[in-house]
């Protein structure tokens, strides 16, 4: 079975390619690219003139909720949402129930992914048993079982000594520890960014320093241990400064940013919509400007959605009682393309790199490149399609997005995993 993608604009930052080329996929690999390729017999031909042909997009931060919270999302529905959003691979966080802190859960997720998954699934193992921050999970066995990184995401490992040991223990595996940087003593009880808006609304705020303090700690621990620390959902201008400075000094720290922290500010909370509540919270305009600049210059290495599905009942009531997090897989590319690339804020090649090449490199994942021999994971975007975000039509089981009703131009058109079209518009 082979697929020929003909006449599209190939955007492959890993190989510095940006131009009209044909792309041939055979036996699950990229087999050829060239100006005009003849279609082998029995090849499916995709006429992609006017489309953007990119390496399959990779989201290294999603919550698939299985096992335990299947009412929010499953491997089946979460990977369909990923495919519909143009993602060919996702890394799923460990805060399932039971927690992915032992091999049997990792095996279960991978088995589900194999039987029901539409895109590639790479589990992330817990750092500490039960995400309790008290003792290390069986990290070596998690690595052997197929976990690609370690994180207590959703919670911060507050015990610095334990976190240091986790960094040291995992050094031989060549996998990063991913930090949910939030000092819980500073953020306690908070439900939005601490600033002018929280003061007006009378909602308890979470200061930017709750994040910055932990990013500073984790940079120092990375320096101490030589470990690779990856900062999840970085959201403040202060954390950008800390990471930029650490990188300049050669510390092995990397970072991701979510689409919502790039595109929304705490002003969005004024309507009391619980879909504007997440951890870390939406920050200020000054922060979003710093984040966009950092994404452009590489201080922030990649975009990740922190896709966090929740049922309606968890996101419709009182703001301070609502669950944290929003779904992101099905809106990420569309909104970033429309709001950042189209106005010229971010070059197209940079956005594609931050969604494919760079996350693949961070976690040593296959893909992120359209070089001959690479996995035949391809995302084709239609840059001219008009979109209105309609949560009712999400493939995800959940609809908790603040972007409902947003209009944009540009969307995923075909999602190809291992040479097979798994989703098309």
């Amino acid at each position: 079975m082979s697929v020929l993608i003909r006449g599209g604009r190939l955007v492959d930052p890993a190989n510095s390619i940006d131009g009209v080329h044909d792309l041939l996929l055979e036996d699950g690999k990229v087999s050829k690219l060239g100006a005009t390729l003849a279609a082998p017999q029995d090849a499916a031909v995709i006429e992609a003139a006017g489309k953007l042909v990119c390496p399959g997009l990779i989201d290294i931060h999603v919550h698939l909720r299985e096992p335990g919270y299947e009412y929010k999302e499953t491997v089946a529905t979460g990977t369909r949402a990923a495919a519909a959003g143009g993602f060919t691979a996702v890394c799923c966080m460990a805060n399932t129930h039971p927690v992915n802190d032992n091999r049997s859960i990792t095996d279960y997720i991978l088995a589900k992914a194999k039987s029901e998954g539409l895109v590639r699934v790479y589990p992330i193992g817990a750092v500490t048993r039960g995400l309790e921050g008290k003792e290390l999970a069986e990290l070596a066995e998690l690595a052997e079982a197929g976990c690609v990184a370690f994180s207590d995401d959703g919670k911060c490992v507050m015990n610095a000594e334990l976190y240091r040991r986790a960094m040291e223990y995992t050094l031989p595996f060549g996998m990063p520890v991913i930090s949910h940087a939030e000092d819980h003593t500073l953020s306690r009880g908070g439900c939005m960014h601490e600033g002018v808006v929280s003061t007006e609304l009378g909602l308890r705020g979470i200061p930017a320093a709750a994040e910055d303090v932990m990013v500073a700690r984790d940079v120092l621990l990375a320096e101490l241990t030589g470990a690779h620390v990856h900062i999840a959902h970085l959201s403040t201008a202060g954390a950008v400064r800390l990471v930029r400075d650490a990188k300049a000094r050669g510390v092995r720290v990397t970072a991701e940013v979510t689409p919502h922290h790039l595109l929304l500010t705490d002003e969005a909370v004024r309507g009391w919509n619980p879909n504007t509540k997440m951890a870390p919270p939406l920050r200020t305009k000054r922060d979003t400007e710093a984040l966009i600049e950092a994404l452009a210059d590489g201080t922030i290495d990649c975009v990740a959605t922190d896709h966090a599905p929740h049922a309606v009942a968890e996101k419709e009531g009182e703001f301070d009682h609502a669950a944290n997090g929003i779904v992101g897989l099905e809106t990420a590319v569309t909104l970033l393309y429309d709001r950042l690339v189209r106005p010229g804020v971010l070059p197209l090649a940079t956005l594609v790199a931050r969604l494919s090449r760079d996350p693949a490199r961070l976690l040593n994942l296959p893909g992120g490149s359209l070089a001959v021999g690479a996995p035949a994971d391809v995302t084709v975007l239609d840059p001219d399609a008009a979109v209105t975000v309609d949560p009712a039509r999400f493939a995800s089981k959940s609809r908790n997005t603040p972007f409902g009703g947003w209009t944009a131009t540009g969307r995923p058109w075909k999602t190809i995993v291992g040479g097979k079209v798994v989703w098309e518009a």
Partner: protein, 319 residues
């Protein structure tokens, strides 16, 4: 100016003219309290539900009396003993109450934004009787009515609001209301009880009681919740009362002789107010409570009784 809103949720969203409409309507209804038969037919056949998720004696009673004097059917729903104890969500409770076709729902809730949430869910009018640390509009209205009665006007007056500003919905509603009517406002308290960016609300900030109360026309003391101590915001009640409690000595030494002392209640005697100040000649605390009923009558009338508002107003002595 007429009244066109479905709900009363915040002072922040109101125009000065709307605030004055509310204050004037309340003023015209005050004399009902001194009638032998305290009843006007303005809201006959209307149903008002008091939905209180937080303990409140003063506010709930005040709304209940206001509704009854206007001849409405008033139902009190205290969440402690009913569905919330059975695990029903706020939104579900709201929808159920909405299905019973009330005309007005008065809501008190510990979550900021709860009144707005209810207003979105219900087609009837919603009155915010206090939502978290956000707003308490009827309290601000009764404070404003009290100030105007005592001072005759608003423009150019100054007020100091003292104490736990961070957690105070009364402070927020009053800051907006006073500023919109031309008053200047200083908030004062230890920095741990002043919210970040308080200046952005349009007020001055002071960290010294003696400075804050100097030359102001109104001093509004806020209740200090004892749990603030356990949250590490203040070291002790003793220390708080020493530096932030208003005693007669401090009052005489630093404040104007014609200053008004206000407090939204309930007063922690000996903490934020010494008894001789609370009960003394400067205090208008009980005037505030009395005006609370008139203010709530006015609000209910404007929201639920637009057709009858004029006749009730003229019955009430009107303007």
């Amino acid at each position: 100016m007429g009244w066109t809103r479905k709900d009363l949720l915040t002072i922040r969203e109101l125009e000065a003219a709307e605030i004055l409409t509310l204050v004037d309507t309340a003023a015209s209804l005050q004399e009902i309290a001194s009638r032998e038969i305290k009843k006007v037919p303005a809201l006959r056949g209307k149903t008002i539900v008091n939905l209180f998720y937080e303990n409140s004696t003063r506010t709930r009673t005040s709304f209940e009396i206001a509704g009854k004097w206007l001849s409405a059917d008033v139902i009190n729903f205290s969440a402690g003993g009913s569905s919330s104890a059975k695990g029903e969500s706020f939104v579900d409770t709201a929808r159920n109450i909405g299905a019973m076709s009330p005309d007005v729902v008065v809501v008190r809730h510990s979550s900021s934004g709860a009144a707005a949430l209810l207003a979105r869910e219900l087609s009837c009018s919603v009155v915010n009787a206090g939502d978290g640390a956000h707003e308490h509009p009827t309290q601000a209205l009764l404070d404003l009515l009290t100030i105007r009665e005592k001072k005759g006007h608003f423009d150019g007056l100054s007020a100091a609001i003292v104490g736990d500003i961070s957690h105070s919905r009364v402070a927020r509603s009053n800051i907006h209301g006073m500023r919109k009517l031309g008053m200047t406002v200083t908030v004062a308290g230890p920095p741990t009880l002043i919210p970040p960016y308080a200046q952005e609300l349009g007020c001055k900030v002071s960290y010294r009681l003696e400075d804050a109360i100097r030359d102001v026309d109104v001093i509004m003391m806020l209740r200090l919740q004892q749990e603030r101590m356990h949250a590490g915001l203040i070291p002790s009640l003793r220390e708080y009362s020493r530096y932030w409690g208003l005693s007669l000595d401090k009052l005489r030494a630093h404040a104007r002789p014609d200053v008004l002392i206000m407090h939204p209640g309930p007063v922690n005697r000996g903490v934020e107010l010494s008894p001789e100040v609370a009960d003394g000649p400067y205090s208008v605390i009980l005037d505030q409570v009395a005006k609370g009923v008139a203010v709530r009558m006015g609000v209910l009338l404007l929201l639920a009784g637009t057709k009858n508002a004029e006749s009730a107003g003229s019955q009430g002595g009107g303007r």
